[in-house]
């Protein structure tokens, strides 16, 4: 059994929405291992984003424990969480969230300014196939291109974990596939743990493990015997 990178023990999260308490997570247990590609599947409101936020150090659970290696994320102060995100986590958003005033290369280089041992931004853009678009601003790029810049930006600081929230949600079919290919390549070549949230069941076929969440609980963890290449996926 490989070493565990993430330990999630009996994690619950309760939000107060006015008068109502919403149980986003109910006693979730989970472990993530080095280099694996995980897909979190579940309907809207199932709690998958809450879990991703907790793994990414954006949120803390109401009860239970989360460890990243020996870092206890449950008890960390906001400044510690910032440092954790800075040093170990890469994020890819559904709507890319690039800095509109910076070019593709600059958006990628931006995070390397705060990282200890970053990759060459140019290399990252090559990895996502954008070496031709280095000096384009976000407004000059298509959605797929912007998302690939976002991936390049996320991996440039050489994170141990890459968290992707619906990375293809805003993209059309061919572009979505292209982005998935890039994620697969990053996972394979850099060995970054990759967690992808999606509605799209087909994407699960490219994962090492598929975790299904429903109503705040993990209902199934399935290990794919044979991973599909993204290019072979159709939806």
């Amino acid at each position: 059994m490989p070493d565990t990178v993430f330990h999630v023990r009996k994690v619950s999260k309760v939000y107060r929405m006015g008068e109502v308490e919403v149980h986003a997570l109910r006693g979730v247990n989970l472990e993530l291992f080095p280099g694996e590609f995980v897909v979190l599947l579940g309907p809207s409101g199932s709690g998958k984003s809450t879990l991703l936020n907790i793994l990414g150090g954006l949120d803390v659970p109401t009860s239970g424990e989360v460890y990243y290696l020996d870092h206890n994320l449950t008890t960390a102060e906001p400044a510690e969480l910032t440092r954790y995100r800075r040093e170990h986590v890469g994020f890819v958003f559904q709507f890319y969230n690039l800095i509109p005033s910076l070019t593709a290369l600059e958006n990628t280089a931006l995070v390397t300014e705060i990282a200890e041992n970053p990759l060459d931004p140019l290399e990252c853009l090559r990895l996502v196939g954008l070496e031709e678009r280095l000096n384009h601003f976000p407004a000059q790029m298509s959605g797929g291109e912007q998302q690939r810049v976002a991936i390049a930006r996320a991996i440039a600081k050489r994170p141990e974990v890459l968290l992707c929230d619906e990375p293809t949600g805003a993209l059309d079919y061919p572009t979505g596939k292209l982005v998935l290919e890039v994620l697969e390549r990053v996972n394979r070549e850099l060995g970054t743990i990759t967690v992808v949230i999606t509605h799209n069941v087909v994407i699960a076929e490219m994962a090492d493990r598929v975790i299904r969440i429903s109503s705040g609980e993990i209902v199934d963890i399935h290990k794919n015997e044979k991973k599909m290449a993204p290019s072979a996926l159709t939806w």
């Binding site: 936020n53 400044a79 440092r83 800075r86 994020f91 800095i99 509109p100 005033s101 705060i114 407004a139």
Partner: protein, 787 residues
């Protein structure tokens, strides 16, 4: 309340920080308008009413002595309506509590009835009674400064003897609204006062029985002032006439009228700056509001609201700022106006000076602010109207950027990415950046102007009281004395050094232009009284010829080398021609200087002197003063240090109020611009900044990315504000220069430092307030939401 109005109220509540900062700037605009316009109107009205009610004369003249019979001839001059002849003399006073002698101007009034012209306003006590020769009325300014009340007595040298003057009443005169002696600029009410006493008492005491030495005239409707002055001069010539002049040259009226003109100018200029800034702020705030509410606008239009009603809804923000600004600004303006009026009363004595802002004025203040607000809102409202409903409900396309100035110059290697973000954000909206800089520069300029007055006054003190006048005491004889007086003065107790001077009243004439001045003859070995120009250069006097103030040379239209005519107005009244040897850029008055020997030769007199400048042993000064008080030959004593002290006190009072107000107002502008600028940048970039936080940037790091923009704007604005401030001071110097005084254009390093610190501090405080808001960025929301 309609649903749209409810939305407006809630939007306003949500944006209360911005609403308040904009409203404060509007309030400053309204307050300065109400204060300055109100002061202008109240003082102009007070002047008009005072002059009319108390029959302020139109033409004035002094002479040596004329028989009363001349009065009929004066009255017969065409254009003359009324004539008032008087006896006016200056005497040494023994002011209680004052070591050095004071100067009293005794002005005759009829024992019975009231003066035909320049009537008095009795403030307290009663009028003098016929036959009571020691009774006087005293000017209110002097009485207040020396805490003299009805019933008090004060000693004066009359006819060579100390006489007690019994104060029976305290009065004001339209002739002395601004009560100063001679050619001074600032009042010294402690040492100079006006006394009115019976003509029957004054006549015998000063050898004026059956005669007069002063005349005031009122003109009949259509009477020509110039014509009357010329004929009056001809009539008075044989009687030692010193030259008649109109109201324009009447010293009190001149100061008062200059002040009124200045009030009118600043009353337009200063509020205009605030309203321009307010319009700009409304423009940026409203543009952003419209931008963030695109879909709401689309929805409203889709529901069938017309363009006008949607535009009016957004105009509500601008009008709310004006309303709030009015509620704050009008009371503030009235309060400041009252303070200013009280201050005015220390300088200008009116029977009544009430700061009474009219409804008209307040309505116009509000209307002007409303117009400025609508102007500021215009472009945002136009974009509201132009937005088609469907377009409005689609998200706006992403902001377009292009390589910034650093890349175009090939300097990108040296510019960090966060700096590039800041520069590109600025470059994307160059007009907004330029206007922000301009607004902040205005704030800086206002500060420079506010502090400048201190610099100017300090410099004036340096030039006039420390470089030019270095004597401890100046004494003036009651009439010119021969050379022996020089030695008598040197032997006075405590006198270390004495430098004689000769002062001669004269009319200088060049072609058709002429001016009455006193020519000051100074000794060639002078050290106590020098001639110093505004650059602190000591000017030498040639052995022949006359040196004129540049302002006087300007009035006469002469330059060095020209020959002018001097008509001496005393003694044998010789008329001579003399060459203008040079001019001096001085700061106060219109002066004419000559070497004392040259002036004596011009007068064809011996070594005659009019007075002396003395250096005095401080320990022996009290003895000297009490000696001078008892010396009838000395009619005037000026103690330099005392003059300086009184000058500083009066000035400090008035400057502190106006500078205090200017500083607070400038802070309101700086704060309003930086706060709103940063808040809007935050709302535009919240998404971007939250993404950066998610990526691991700290709050401090994104704080700099956000506030760097404001820091650059403030940084660029500061030198611009300095330049603007310097320019405005230059304009002020130019527009305020008069025959009475010129302001030196000097701005100290301290002023620049104060302005810098104030702007930097106001910017920093608003920056910190915005930085606090970065805590509340919703990091989780950015993962899901499209901007």
């Amino acid at each position: 309340m309609t649903a749209l109005n409810k939305k407006l109220v809630r939007d306003l509540w949500r944006m209360r920080g911005q609403l308040v900062t904009v409203a404060l700037v509007v309030a400053c605009g309204i307050a300065t308008y109400v204060t300055m316009r109100g002061s202008y109107e109240s003082i102009a009205n007070a002047q008009r009413e005072y002059y009319a009610k108390y029959r302020f004369a139109d033409v004035f003249a002094s002479l040596k002595r004329a028989p009363n019979s001349l009065e009929a001839s004066i009255a017969a001059i065409p254009g003359v309506s009324r004539v008032q002849t008087r006896i006016v003399v200056e005497v040494t006073l023994d002011v209680p509590g004052l070591q050095e002698p004071g100067l009293g101007r005794l002005v005759s009034i009829p024992e019975r009835g009231v003066p035909d012209l320049n009537d008095l306003c009795l403030r307290r006590g009663r009028n003098i009674e016929p036959g009571r020769r020691d009774e006087v009325l005293v000017s209110e300014a002097f009485a207040k400064a020396n805490q003299l009340d009805v019933g008090a007595t004060i000693g004066a040298v009359i006819n060579g003897r100390w006489e007690p003057l019994r104060i029976v009443g305290i009065a004001l005169s339209p002739e002395y609204v601004y009560e100063i002696r001679g050619a001074e600029v600032f009042p010294d009410n402690r040492r100079f006062g006006v006394f009115w006493m019976s003509r029957e008492a004054l006549g015998p005491a000063f050898n004026m029985e059956g005669g007069f030495n002063d005349v005031s005239i009122s003109l009949s409707p259509g009477g020509s002032e110039a014509e009357v002055i010329s004929r009056l001069d001809n009539l008075m010539e044989p009687y030692g006439g010193l030259g008649a002049y109109g109201r324009y040259d009447q010293i009190s009226n001149r100061f008062l009228s200059d002040e009124i003109v200045q009030d009118r100018i600043t009353g337009i200029f200063i509020p205009a700056i605030f309203l321009a800034v307010a319009a700009f702020l409304i423009h940026v705030v409203l543009s952003r509001l419209v931008h963030t509410q695109r879909s709401a606008i689309g929805l409203l239009k889709a529901f069938g609201f017309g363009n006008t009603s949607v535009a009016l809804h957004y105009l509500g923000f601008a009008l709310a700022a004006v309303l709030l600004g009015t509620l704050l600004g009008v009371p503030l303006g009235i309060w400041l106006g009252r303070g200013l009026s009280r201050l005015y009363q220390d300088f200008f004595r009116f029977p009544e000076l009430r700061f009474a802002p009219t409804l008209d004025m307040i309505v116009s203040a509000v209307a002007i602010s409303g117009a400025a607000a609508c102007f500021g809102a215009l472009s945002a409202l136009r974009s509201v109207s132009a937005l088609p409903p469907a377009e409005a409900m689609r998200p706006e396309s992403p902001a377009r950027f292009r390589p910034g100035i650093a890349e175009r110059l090939g300097l990108q290697r040296f510019v960090s990415l966060s700096a590039r973000m800041i520069l590109r954000n600025l470059e994307r909206r160059p007009w907004k950046a330029a206007l922000s800089i301009l607004g902040l520069a205005c704030a800086g300029a206002i500060l420079i102007v506010g502090f400048y007055f201190y610099d100017a006054i300090e410099y004036l003190v340096r030039v006039e009281f420390q470089s030019a006048a270095r004597e401890d005491v100046g004494i003036t004889f009651n009439e010119p004395h021969g050379s022996s007086a020089r030695f008598s003065v040197e032997r006075l107790p405590g006198v270390l050094r004495a430098e004689p001077f000769r002062a001669v009243p004269a009319r200088l004439r060049f072609q058709h232009r002429s001016r009455r001045v006193g020519i000051l003859g100074l000794s060639d070995d002078r050290d106590l009284r020098r001639i110093v120009d505004q650059h602190l250069r000591v000017i030498g006097l040639p052995p022949e010829g006359i040196v004129l103030s540049q302002s006087l040379a300007g009035i006469l239209g002469v330059s060095p080398g020209d020959t002018i005519t001097i008509e001496v107005l005393e003694g044998q009244r010789p008329v001579r021609r003399i060459i203008v040897a040079g001019t001096v850029e001085d700061l106060i008055g219109t002066s004419a200087y000559m070497d004392i020997g040259a002036l004596n030769r011009l007068m064809r007199e011996g070594e005659t002197v009019s007075g002396a400048f003395l250096s005095v042993d401080p320990l022996a000064a009290p003895g000297l003063y009490s000696f001078l008080k008892k010396t009838p030959a000395v009619s005037g004593v000026n103690v330099r240090e005392a003059m300086l002290q009184s000058f500083r006190n009066t000035i400090a009072q008035s400057l502190n109020l106006s500078t205090g107000a200017l500083i607070s107002f400038a802070c309101v502008i700086a704060f309003g611009i930086v706060y709103n600028g940063a808040l809007i940048a935050l709302s535009e970039r919240a998404h971007e900044l939250a993404s950066l936080r998610v990526l691991g940037f700290t709050r401090t790091e994104i704080g700099w990315m956000l506030l760097g923009e404001q820091a650059i704007l403030a940084g660029v604005s500061i030198p611009m504000g300095f330049l603007m401030g310097y320019g405005i001071c230059g304009l002020l110097v130019y527009s305020m220069q008069s025959e009475l005084y010129r302001m030196p254009l000097v701005i100290s390093g301290r002023t620049y430092a104060f302005a810098f610190i104030t702007i930097a501090l106001a910017s920093a405080i608003s920056g910190v307030l915005i930085a606090q808001k970065l805590r509340n960025l919703d990091l989780v929301a950015v993962l899901k939401a499209r901007e």
